[in-house]
């Protein structure tokens, strides 16, 4: 049936206001403390994969990559992941990588290119995610989504696999009020934007499907060709949360995706202990 902005289920893709205060119910084992989760960590020992348009290796704001790959058609036409040295096809992936690097300077960054420019195919995305899970990455940054419903089931199975195999997928919500995937799935950490300037400020959204909001307006980022710029969009809020996840995991490597998500929740700016 037809879809329009009016008839869509009420979803929150971004927030203009501070989300309501969430009081943690009595009986939680520890008081939520913002500093507890990430403070003092550098991201060292955590392997982060940026599935995007490629990343410019050696960009001042990105540093050295631990690996760069691309999804290409294989001999039988089906896509596969192969090593790649062509850098970034648009600048978008480099931008995301630079945000992660800013938060988690010590993490290991790997790029898998699935976008040519700002667009790509669902088959390539699925191939890349399969590869990322098989290779046991700790955190995956996905500042993109597919609007093709036909790939919904395959993607859901993949993100479930990731969730149970300790690969935490941090996925950006769409900027428009559009149903797209995989950010809509509960097995990923979904990220929308708020417009405040503080890069470390993030909120838990009590009215999902978007679970967290991070700053997504005028985010200082790296761009292709050694450049720097300011960008807006959920694309750039997402790597902030991915970076924070890398910090949490470098401090507490034993945490599962479920636990990291809980740590994010407990350290969100609008989550406070029951008075």
């Amino acid at each position: 049936m037809p879809v329009s902005a009016d008839t869509l289920p009420r979803l929150s893709w971004y927030t203009q206001d501070r989300p309501e205060q969430v009081r943690v119910s009595a009986g939680w084992p520890a008081a939520p403390v913002e500093d507890w989760a990430a403070s003092g960590a550098t991201g060292a020992g955590v392997r982060v994969c940026v599935v995007d348009s490629g990343v410019e290796d050696g960009h001042e704001l990105v540093g050295q990559l631990a690996g760069a790959y691309s999804v290409e058609p294989g001999p039988e036409g089906s896509p596969r992941v192969v090593p790649d040295n062509r850098g970034d096809s648009s600048g978008h992936g480099t931008a995301c990588a630079s945000v992660i690097r800013r938060f988690a300077p010590g993490c290991e960054l790997v790029s898998v290119r699935v976008l040519g420019g700002f667009f790509g195919s669902s088959e390539n995305l699925i191939t890349a995610l399969r590869w990322v899970i098989d290779n046991g990455f700790d955190v995956v940054n996905l500042s993109l989504s597919t609007s093709k419903r036909t790939f919904g089931t395959a993607l859901r199975e993949l993100t479930d696999d990731a969730y149970f195999n300790r690969t935490l997928i941090v996925a950006s919500a769409h900027n428009m009020k559009v149903e797209s995937f995989p950010w809509r799935f509960s097995s990923v950490v979904s990220v929308g934007s708020h417009a405040e300037a503080d890069p470390w400020l993030y909120y838990y959204n009590p009215a999902p499907p978007v679970e967290f909001y991070a700053g997504g307006v005028n985010v200082p980022v790296a761009w292709k060709g050694g450049a720097r710029t300011l960008c807006s969009g959920n694309s750039f809020a997402t790597p902030r949360i991915a970076g924070i996840c890398a910090l949490i995991l470098s401090k507490y490597p034993e945490l599962t995706p479920f636990q990291v998500k809980t740590a994010l929740y407990l350290s969100a700016a609008n989550v406070r202990e029951q008075p």
Binding site: S4, S145, T146, K177, G233, N234, S235
Partner: protein
């Protein structure tokens, strides 16, 4: 062909034999998108060896005839036979939106026809023949539909079609990329390795046809994405269905919309909804070519009969064989087999018999192509079907109303729905759903596509698809074909009129009439173009209705169809016409620039001279923009001029100025390197050096600038380069001005002025006049003489530009105020404020209130002064100019103090942190003396102020400081010092003829005298 003047039908002639209007032969050529088909016999050499020439000729004649009939049936034009090969073109003389599909259907049929021929040949001579076919779509130059009596086409498209044919396997059909793109919805094809073609760097992509499906639209529509923003129409359809089912009657709902607006998609969605709700629905459509008179009903009836499950027509109507007989013709080929009335009766009977209690929805697509008989049938059914619930959903373009103006109205049981373009928001939503995987950033490219699509979902789909394939620019071929076919349906004179209009963003009919007197259209014609949305009204110009194109794509398609040679001619004609009417250099230059571009592409001999002419106009346009203070426009004009004529040194010099003014220092430096490299030309090189010194004034200092000026001055003098001389004297004037040597500065500025009559020096002129007027106000020249000189300057220069006017008027207002002409001064500054606001010059806008504040201080209206200076202070704060903010603040503090608010005034003074004594002695002195006066402190501050102003030849500044000193001395009991200071102040004001200052000193003296007494 139709005469453009009287509309009579004529055959290719130079003059219309009916009215005598000359028929322009050149307009016969157009660029158009056509599909070219090549078909050749495979193994014909072998055949000629095997067969006797007589038998061979007989076989070939049958083959040619078969091929020709297939091609003609699908609307192709056989252009020529080359040996055993046939070349046909789809799209000449008239373009159809489905030319590509027609050609592929023809190719498919040719292959099948050869199969049948081979059965005969095998029987007759024991062997068969095989053909290879290549089909390619692209732009060619051809003869216009309106004039064409032959079909010769030329272009790479033709050669590529021939290459595709040569690479096809026997029996195979190879399609080029554009053709495949335009038929992909109706064809199954596999990509073959791209062909290496001689003389072509890029390999040629090709697809081998596997199946051509009948009754499928050529372009795959994205029905997989959710329908957007059509709930109201869907609800309307559901209500209508509910109505016919309740009333057991028949209703016709016609959905009108431009091609691509989503008519089929809406109907598809409605049919799906009906089916999921258990309501039967059938769909059929009309085709722009072929098919019988009752074409859409063959599909409808077959579907109805199929739904009964009985199978054949005869079985279904076993009890009423006359119905079966009457319908047989309709079902065979859409042609009524009997008299029309009998057929109508039979169709009605069929509906009555086959539609059950659930009723039925019948979708009839593309009704604009239905025959009058088919339309009559729909009307008849609506009126005569009773006790059967039928909802006809007719989909039609507005062209249907040309054939049936009353359609959808004036009859019971009819409704019309018009599909409107999507809103921007909904179009964005659609764009988001059309991409597969996309990055989540706000990108300008999608924004552009949404704007380009103008709310048409199909256009947006096509534009997005084209981008996904890596083609960023231009109108997708599918859209171009659609629009070109609509345009080809227009009467020749309408189309020709639009072909002139396409040269303008907005146009008035009278202008086109002047440019192309032989192209005439009436108000009724224009109304028709508006009603078909080719053009739309766009306000009025000089009392005449003005128009623009209904969409930018229509304009693009019309323009793209014009041969480049014709574009060059028309741009030149328009440029000449504009020049004769003294229109702006910007407009003239833009047309010449485009003409120069095309003539270069065509390697026309006059390309270089056109570029020179265009460069000259654009350069002048840049200077005009400069004189109006519009730096960004000026920059663009100069850059375009240089792109055409890279060695225009004067343009380079001007561009450096602009780049420096807008802060693009790096670009300016690069250009200066080029300028200096032109060593053979000393003048431009000297300009380069001088401008570089100006550009880097902040780092290299005034002394360096003065040194460079002194080096270059003799070069300019020797070459008598006035602009250079004006610039040198201007810089020397400024060097003196910043050192408060106002008289010397004044002389240099006057000198500069004598050389600044060249329009190239317009940018400098405002600066020179500003400097000169400033020195006249601030310097020792008595106000009377200074004002007279200012008045001369106003007379001579104020009319030249806003910038020059403002530059002179502001200091002049202060001279007026000194002479007691306060209202004059206020009026002048109000005008200046309005002008700077219009110019959008922020800094100048913030400066005017500083002058106004000074005037009000002179006039004694301190509250007004405070208001003006507060405004100015805030404005400089916004701009981030701390120095000017502090300068305004000193006067603000004085205005506040003179209203008796001491501590507030001191706070203002304390906030001035940017004024350092070394750099700005006058301001620093005024600040120190006012602070001393407020605090009644005769200490070091006051002494410093007196010392600083002692050497400055600015009597009114010195006078103000002395007046402050007199007050301080008086209040600290140093009566004789006070009297002496007051006398000196009076002398200063007298020297300047500052009547306001004199009045103040006189009133102070009077007050003191009164107290003495």
């Amino acid at each position: 062909m139709t005469c453009l003047s009287c509309g009579a039908d004529i055959v290719s002639v130079r003059f219309c034999p009916h009215c005598g209007t000359p028929q322009n032969g050149d307009r016969g050529e157009v660029r158009k998108i056509v599909t070219v088909l090549f078909c050749d016999l495979s193994g014909s050499t072998e055949m000629s060896r095997l067969f006797d020439p007589e038998s061979l000729r007989a076989i070939l004649l049958r083959y040619f005839e078969l091929m020709r009939s297939c091609l003609i049936r699908h609307g192709g034009t056989v252009e020529k036979y080359i040996g055993d090969a046939v070349m046909a073109v789809f799209g000449v003389p008239t373009v159809h939106e489905d030319d590509a599909l027609r050609s592929v259907r023809a190719a498919w049929e040719m292959r099948e026809a050869i199969g049948r021929l081979n059965e005969e040949l095998v029987r007759e001579i024991g062997c068969g023949i095989a053909i290879r076919i290549g089909v390619n779509t692209g732009e060619v130059v051809a003869v216009d539909a309106a004039t064409g009596d032959h079909t010769f086409v030329a272009g790479e498209t033709v050669n590529m079609a021939a290459r595709l044919e040569q690479h096809a396997t026997p029996g195979g059909i190879l399609l080029g990329a554009e053709t495949y793109r335009m038929v992909a919805g109706a064809v199954t094809a596999e990509a073959v390795p791209p062909l290496q073609v001689r003389g072509r760097a890029e390999p040629l992509p090709a697809w081998r046809v596997q199946v051509v499906r009948a009754h499928e639209p050529p372009v795959r529509r994205r029905f997989d994405v959710p329908l957007i923003d059509r709930e109201r129409e869907l609800r309307q359809l559901s209500l209508l269905l509910e109505g016919v089912r309740q009333d057991r009657g028949c209703h016709v709902c016609t959905i009108f919309g431009d091609p691509g607006m989503g008519k089929s998609r809406l109907a598809h969605e409605f049919v799906m909804a009906c089916q999921s709700a258990g309501a039967p629905a059938v769909s059929s459509g009309c085709s722009p070519y072929g098919g019988g008179t009752l074409a859409p009903f063959d599909g409808v009836l077959s579907a109805l009969i199929e739904a009964t499950g009985t199978g054949s027509l005869a079985e279904t109507f076993a009890e009423t064989p006359q119905v079966a007989t009457a319908l047989a013709g309709v079902l065979r080929d859409g042609a009524p087999g009997l008299a029309v009335d009998d057929t109508f009766w039979a169709v009605r009977e069929a509906f009555s018999a086959l539609v059950d209690d659930r009723g039925i929805v019948v979708v009839l697509d593309d009704l604009q192509w239905a025959s009058p008989t088919a339309l009559d049938l729909i009307t008849t059914l609506t009126e005569s079907l009773h006790e059967v619930a039928v909802l006809f959903v007719c989909l039609a373009r507005f062209e249907l109303l040309d054939a049936r103006p009353q359609w959808g109205g004036g009859q019971l049981g009819t409704t019309s729905i018009v599909l409107r373009p999507l809103s921007d928001e909904h179009a964005h939503l659609l764009a988001a759903q059309l991409s597969d995987v996309s990055a989540h950033l706000s990108d300008a490219e999608t924004e552009r596509l949404v704007t380009t699509a103008e709310g048409n979902p199909f256009f947006l789909e096509q534009l997005m698809a084209m981008r996904a394939e890596g083609h960023a620019e231009g109108v997708p071929p599918s859209l171009r074909a659609l629009l070109a076919a609509r345009l080809d349906l227009l009467p020749a004179q309408h189309l020709e009129w639009l072909r002139w209009a396409a040269f303008f963003d907005r146009f008035v009919p009278s202008r086109i009439a002047e440019l192309a007197p032989d192209v005439r259209i009436t108000d009724a014609d224009l109304h028709h173009l508006v009603s078909r949305r080719f053009v739309e009204p766009d306000g009025r110009l000089h009392g005449e209705a003005r128009y623009r194109f209904g969409s930018s794509q229509i304009r693009d398609v019309i323009y793209a169809a014009l041969p480049k040679k014709l574009r060059v001619e028309r741009h030149l004609r328009i440029a000449g016409w504009l020049r004769d009417r003294r229109q702006s250099d910007a407009d003239v230059g833009a047309h010449l620039e485009t003409a120069a571009g095309y003539s270069a592409e065509l390697r026309m001999p006059d390309a270089a001279s056109l570029a020179l002419a265009a460069g000259a106009h654009l350069d002048r346009a840049g200077r005009t923009a400069l004189s109006l203070g519009d730096m960004y426009r000026a920059r663009s004009f100069f850059e375009r001029a240089l792109a055409l004529v890279p060695d225009r040194l004067d343009t380079m010099v001007a561009l450096v100025d602009v780049l420096a003014a807008v802060g693009a220092t790096e670009s300016a430096d690069r250009l200066l390197d080029e300028l200096e490299a032109s060593s053979g030309r000393p003048v431009p090189a000297a300009h380069g050096r001088l401008q570089r010194a100006v550009l880097h004034l902040a780092e290299r200092g005034m002394d360096h600038l003065v040194a460079v000026t002194e080096q270059t001055l003799p070069i300019f003098r020797q070459e008598n380069d006035h602009v250079g001389l004006a610039r040198c004297w201007l810089r020397l004037g400024q060097a003196n001005q910043v050192r408060y040597r106002f008289d010397e500065a004044r002389q240099r500025f006057e000198q500069a002025l004598t050389f600044s009559h060249d329009p190239t020096a317009r940018l400098e002129l405002a600066t020179i006049l500003g400097g000169l007027a400033y020195c006249l106000w601030q310097g020792p020249e008595p106000s009377g003489a200074a004002l007279r000189r200012c008045d001369e300057l106003v007379e001579q220069y104020a009319g030249l530009s806003k910038a020059t006017r403002v530059a002179i008027e502001s200091p002049r207002a202060l001279l007026c105020a000194m002479r007691g002409r306060h209202d004059d001064a206020r009026r002048t500054l109000r005008d200046a404020a309005r002008i700077t606001h219009e110019m959008g010059h922020v800094t100048a806008g913030a400066t005017i209130p500083v002058f106004l504040g000074k005037v009000e201080l002179l006039a004694g209206d301190f509250a007004a002064a405070e208001r003006a200076l507060s405004t100015s202070r805030a404005a400089f704060d916004d701009i981030g100019d701390g120095l000017m903010r502090d300068t305004a603040t000193i006067d603000l503090a004085r205005a506040v103090y003179l209203q008796g608010r001491r501590s507030e005034a001191l706070e203002w003074l304390d906030s001035c942190e940017n004024l350092t004594e070394g750099l700005f002695p006058m301001d620093a002195a005024l600040l120190a003396s006012l602070r001393a006066r407020i605090r009644s402190e005769p200490g070091a501050q006051l002494e410093r102020a007196l010392t600083l102003t002692a050497g400055v030849p600015s009597p009114q500044c010195r006078g103000t400081v002395l007046l402050d000193a007199a007050h301080v001395f008086r209040s600290t009991g140093r009566g004789s010092d006070a009297t002496s200071a007051l006398r000196q102040a009076r002398d200063c004001f007298a020297a300047k003829e500052d009547l306001a200052g004199l009045a103040v000193t006189a009133s102070v003296q009077a007050r003191w005298d009164a107290r003495e007494r």
